[in-house]
């Protein structure tokens, strides 16, 4: 089957972000979605440390230690962008002003529960950042992740076994194998990669799926 690479997955998520959307891209893989938004379009990227209209990484030598994103990477600000404090930034998030948030995940449950901040290891130092605020606050929470863990376990589950970030918050899941919506009916598969049958996808997914594909497979 044509498993999506990380770049292909980011490009697929980018297709669903309309021009004009206010978007928060989580740390790590979700950040790379920005690289696939069409050039010349107006996309408002929000970073919870206080940027709206965030631009790409600066040219080497142009880095400003006081201009960083939530992942503490050097970034730029587009013309028209602005800065604000954390109160305003989380009012944007919690107040439902962010249209789309894309997050990574350890697990997503059938009902849209999200686990992405802590593996529950008692020795681990917990760190949550803005994940719980984004999970409850953004109008649409999309998750992008590998379908399976490195040891082959399904990251889509009946109930999360890792500590929760938010309950019932995920609307759509993009994996390297499929696009799946979390609906009142359950997990509806919208797309599968070429060469992957619905039955095969179901067999490696630890929660019941509904075949909601318009076409049998995407190229």
């Amino acid at each position: 089957m044509n498993r999506r690479s990380r770049e292909e997955l980011a490009a697929r998520v980018a297709l669903d972000i309309p021009e004009g959307a206010y978007v928060n891209l989580g740390i790590g893989l979700p950040t790379t979605v920005a690289n696939f938004l069409p050039a010349g379009g107006d996309y408002f990227l929000h970073s919870e440390n206080g940027l709206l209209g965030m631009g790409p990484a600066p040219a080497p030598g142009e880095e400003d230690p006081e201009l960083i994103n939530a992942g503490k990477q050097h970034v730029t600000l587009l013309p028209g962008g602005c800065y604000f404090h954390h109160g305003d930034s989380f009012a944007m998030i919690r107040g439902g002003h962010i249209d789309i948030c894309v997050l990574g995940a350890f697990q997503v449950a059938r009902n849209g529960d999200l686990a992405n901040w802590h593996l529950g290891d008692p020795d681990a130092i917990p760190a949550v950042g803005g994940a719980m605020d984004l999970a409850v606050g953004a109008r649409q929470v999309y998750v992008m992740m590998e379908h399976l863990t490195r040891t082959g376990e399904s990251k889509i589950v009946e109930r999360c076994t890792y500590p929760l970030t938010g309950i019932g918050c995920v609307k759509r899941i993009y994996t390297d194998l499929a696009v799946i919506d979390v609906t009142a009916r359950g997990l509806e598969v919208r797309e599968t990669v070429a060469g992957l049958t619905f039955e095969h996808l179901q067999s490696i997914t630890a929660a019941p799926l509904i075949d909601g594909r318009q076409r049998s497979a995407l190229a």
Binding site: G87, A127, V128
Partner: protein, 230 residues
């Protein structure tokens, strides 16, 4: 004449007592008031409770304060980072208490303190282990968790420019927690890169009105003084 400016950081932090709750601005190293924190290390206050987004980066600023064993307890959203080894070691040894607070709850608890609110109901963390044991309420069908304000005895923040009345403007993403911490503390001490005359800051663009700032330290003046003595 009212002049809140102080020419050196040592004088600015002289009376922070042992056991104080100190709000420390910054997100990572952006906006971290390193010079004020260094002065607090030299001053020697102990048993501090620190409120800051992170638990120190590398070996400087907040990390150095923690390393000097001056911090009893820390409230932050994201202690664990690639360069948080100072905190990590003390935490694992049980030498420092940690309260993990979601970043937005940290922000709105500080805002609540600054605005004189008794508590807030926030949707963040509802149904998670960070809300365990906390009072909840359902309002218009949505679930909320009761959270209390975070008041600081002192706030240490970094701004770009200020005037002698304490009005402040910031630089880019170094603004982060500065404005909301300034409002949440009884004594806010701001370090600035430049002290400008009254009227030089565009009143339409002042981010933190001087009423929220008690002391302002002009780092440029401190530097000039040090160079003059050298």
């Amino acid at each position: 004449m009212i002049d809140k400016s102080i020419n050196n950081v040592a004088e600015a932090v002289r009376d922070i007592p042992d056991g104080a709750v100190v709000l420390v601005g910054g997100f990572g190293t952006a906006g971290m008031p390193v010079e004020l924190v260094d002065a607090l290390i030299d001053q020697g206050a102990r048993e501090l409770t620190i409120v800051s987004n992170n638990a120190g980066n590398g070996e400087q600023g907040l990390a150095a304060l923690i390393k000097a064993r001056r911090v009893r307890r820390i409230l932050c959203s994201f202690p664990r980072q690639a360069d948080s080894h100072v905190f990590d070691e003390l935490y694992r040894a049980g030498s420092i208490e940690l309260e993990v607070v979601p970043q937005g709850n940290l922000a709105c608890r500080l805002e609540a303190a600054g605005a004189g609110l008794g508590a807030i109901f926030t949707p963040t963390a509802y149904g998670t282990q960070l809300a365990e044991g906390k009072e909840t309420r359902t309002i218009d069908g949505k679930h909320y968790v009761l959270e209390y304000p975070i008041h600081g005895d002192v706030a240490l923040i970094k701004a770009h420019r200020g005037d002698r009345w304490g009005n402040l403007v910031y630089n880019k993403s170094a603004r982060n927690f500065g404005p909301i911490m300034a409002r949440a503390a009884r004594c806010t001490i701001a370090q600035v890169n430049e002290l400008v005359p009254l009227g030089a800051l565009d009143p339409e663009a002042v981010v933190t009105p001087g009423i929220f700032v008690q002391r302002i330290v002009n780092l440029a003046a401190g530097q000039a003084l040090a160079e003059g003595l050298a």
